[in-house]
C-alpha cells in the first residue's frame, strides 16, 4: 500500500528544553489517524513539523515517498498537504468567504472563473453557499470552521492535518464535521482531545507520551 507519511526515530523540541523522541509512524494512503496527548505534550508542534512550518531535531521524515531533510525540500510536496488551524481566524487570508475559499486555486494560477466556480461548488457541497459573500470574521465558530475546511479541501490535498477541529463547535456542528470527514477519501491526521469525535472518524489512535508515540487503539 502506498504511503503518505513515514516518520522514523523522529524527534523534535518543544520550547527550549523539552524534547520528544522515538516517534515512529507510518501513515498509509487514505488512512485516518488521530493523535492525542496531554496539553503541551507537542501535538500541534508535530503537525507543524509535518506541515513544514517548524524544523525537527532528528530522525527521518518521508512524505509521499520523498525524503524530507530540510524545510526547502517541502517545495515539491507542499501542494499535497492541507492544514486546518485550531483557530479558524488564523487561517483566513481574505476577508470575504468566497475569496478565501478560492485563494488556494488562484494562488496556483488557475483562471479566475474556474477558481470561483470550484470554490462555489465546494461551498455548495458543505451547504454553506449562503455565506459566500459574508465577511469571514462575522461568521459563527462553526461556520468559520466549515469555510476554513472548504478552503483546504478545494486544493485537493492528499494529506490533511487537522488541529483540534472541534474546538468551539456545538454538537450539531460537530456531527456535520464528522459526516464531512467520514466522506473525505484522503489521509488524515487529527490532533484532538475529543475522543468521541475522533472515534467516529479515524482507524487508529496514537498517544504522545514520554516514551514517544504509542498506539492506544
Amino acid at each position: 500500500m502506498s504511503c503518505s507519511l513515514n516518520l522514523k526515530n523522529f524527534s523534535y523540541k518543544i520550547g527550549e528544553n523539552k524534547e520528544i523522541r522515538n516517534i515512529n509512524l507510518n501513515l498509509s494512503h487514505k488512512e485516518k489517524i488521530a493523535i492525542v496527548g496531554a496539553n503541551g505534550c507537542g501535538k500541534t508542534t508535530l503537525l507543524d513539523i509535518i506541515a513544514g512550518v517548524k524544523s525537527r531535531s532528528g530522525g527521518e521524515l518521508e512524505l509521499f515517498h520523498q525524503k524530507i531533510d530540510s524545510l526547502a525540500d517541502y517545495k515539491s510536496v507542499r501542494d499535497f498537504i492541507g492544514y486546518l488551524f485550531q483557530d479558524s481566524d488564523n487561517q483566513f487570508l481574505c476577508p470575504v468567504v468566497i475569496d478565501d475559499v478560492a485563494f488556494g486555486l488562484l494562488n496556483e494560477g488557475i483562471e479566475k472563473e474556474k477558481a470561483y466556480l470550484k470554490a462555489k461548488m465546494m461551498l455548495e457541497d458543505f451547504n454553506i453557499s449562503n455565506l459566500q459573500d459574508k465577511i469571514v470574521y462575522n461568521l459563527s465558530g462553526g461556520e468559520k470552521k466549515l469555510v476554513a475546511l472548504a478552503g483546504v479541501l478545494v486544493n485537493e490535498p492528499k494529506l490533511m492535518l487537522l488541529d483540534e477541529p472541534t474546538n468551539g463547535l456545538d454538537e450539531d456542528m460537530q456531527l456535520k464535521l464528522v459526516k464531512i470527514l467520514q466522506q473525505i477519501d484522503k489521509s488524515i491526521i487529527i490532533v484532538s482531545h475529543h475522543r468521541e469525535f475522533i472515534d467516529k472518524i479515524v482507524d487508529k489512535i496514537y498517544k504522545i507520551t514520554d516514551d514517544g508515540l504509542v498506539l492506544i487503539s
Binding site: D48, R78, N90, Q91, L93, F103, Y137, G151
Partner: protein
C-alpha cells in the same frame, strides 16, 4: 543577576556619558567588556542583533563619510555600537513585560510605566499575529509573484492585522473593565541592590570618568 532598576540607571548613565563626548577613547568599552565577561552566553545573541542594526548605523555613518566628516562617521559607528551592545548584554533574556513593568520601580509616573507596558504588550500581540499570518501563508502554499493577486493578498494581510489588533484591544478593554483595572500595573520584581549592581555601576562610571579626568587608557 543585575536588577532591572540598576540596568536602567546604568544604560542611562552610559549612553548619556558617551553621547556628550566628541571623540573615541578606549576606556569607554570598559562597561560592555565587563558585562561580556559576566554574561558570556549573551555575547553571540547580542552580536547577532547588533549585526542587523548595523545596517542602519552604517547608513548614518555613510552619510557622514559622504560629507567628508570621517571622524564623525567613526564616532557615530563606535558610539552607537558600544551603547547598543551594552544594552543588549544588559537586557538579554529579560522579558519585555518585566522590563516595562519594572519602570515603575525607577520612580517613573504610574501612568507612564503602564503606558510603556501596554505598548510592549501590543508590539508582542502584533508580532504574534504576524507570525500566525506567516504560518497561514506557508501552509496555504502562498506563492509570491509580481501579480495583482499577490498584492491583493498583501493588502489583505495588512488589513487583517489592523482588524485583529482592534479586536485584541477590544478584548483587553473588556478584561480591564471586568477586572476593575485602576490604571496601575503591579510589579513584584526585585528591589534590593546586589553586589553585581554596584560593580556594574562602578564600571559604567569608570568608562565615563576615566575620560573626564583624562586618564589615558
Amino acid at each position: 543577576m543585575i536588577s532591572l532598576r540598576f540596568a536602567f540607571i546604568s544604560i542611562l548613565l552610559y549612553s548619556f556619558g558617551l553621547a556628550f563626548f566628541k571623540e573615541i577613547w578606549l576606556s569607554m568599552l570598559l562597561a560592555p567588556l565587563f558585562l561580556a565577561l559576566v554574561k558570556p552566553k549573551s555575547i553571540l545573541p547580542s552580536f547577532k542583533k547588533l549585526l542587523f542594526l548595523n545596517i542602519f548605523i552604517l547608513l548614518v555613518s555613510l552619510s557622514a563619510v559622504l560629507s567628508k566628516e570621517y571622524n564623525l562617521a567613526l564616532l557615530i559607528f563606535v558610539r552607537a555600537n558600544a551603547i547598543l551592545f551594552f544594552t543588549f548584554l544588559l537586557f538579554d533574556k529579560r522579558d519585555i513585560f518585566e522590563i516595562t513593568a519594572s519602570l515603575s520601580s525607577l520612580g517613573l509616573p504610574t501612568k507612564l510605566s503602564t503606558l510603556f507596558f501596554f505598548v510592549a504588550k501590543f508590539i508582542f500581540i502584533i508580532k504574534n499575529e504576524f507570525q500566525i499570518i506567516k504560518k497561514a501563508l506557508l501552509v496555504r502554499h502562498f506563492k509570491r509573484k509580481t501579480t495583482l493577486f499577490t498584492y491583493k493578498i498583501y493588502a489583505n494581510i495588512v488589513g487583517m492585522l489592523v482588524v485583529k489588533c482592534f479586536e485584541r484591544a477590544d478584548k483587553l478593554k473588556k478584561a480591564m473593565i471586568l477586572r476593575n483595572f485602576g490604571g496601575k500595573i503591579y510589579y513584584a520584581g526585585e528591589n534590593s541592590v546586589t553586589k553585581m549592581d554596584l560593580v556594574l555601576l562602578c564600571f559604567v562610571l569608570a568608562s565615563i570618568f576615566l575620560k573626564i579626568i583624562k586618564v589615558n587608557i
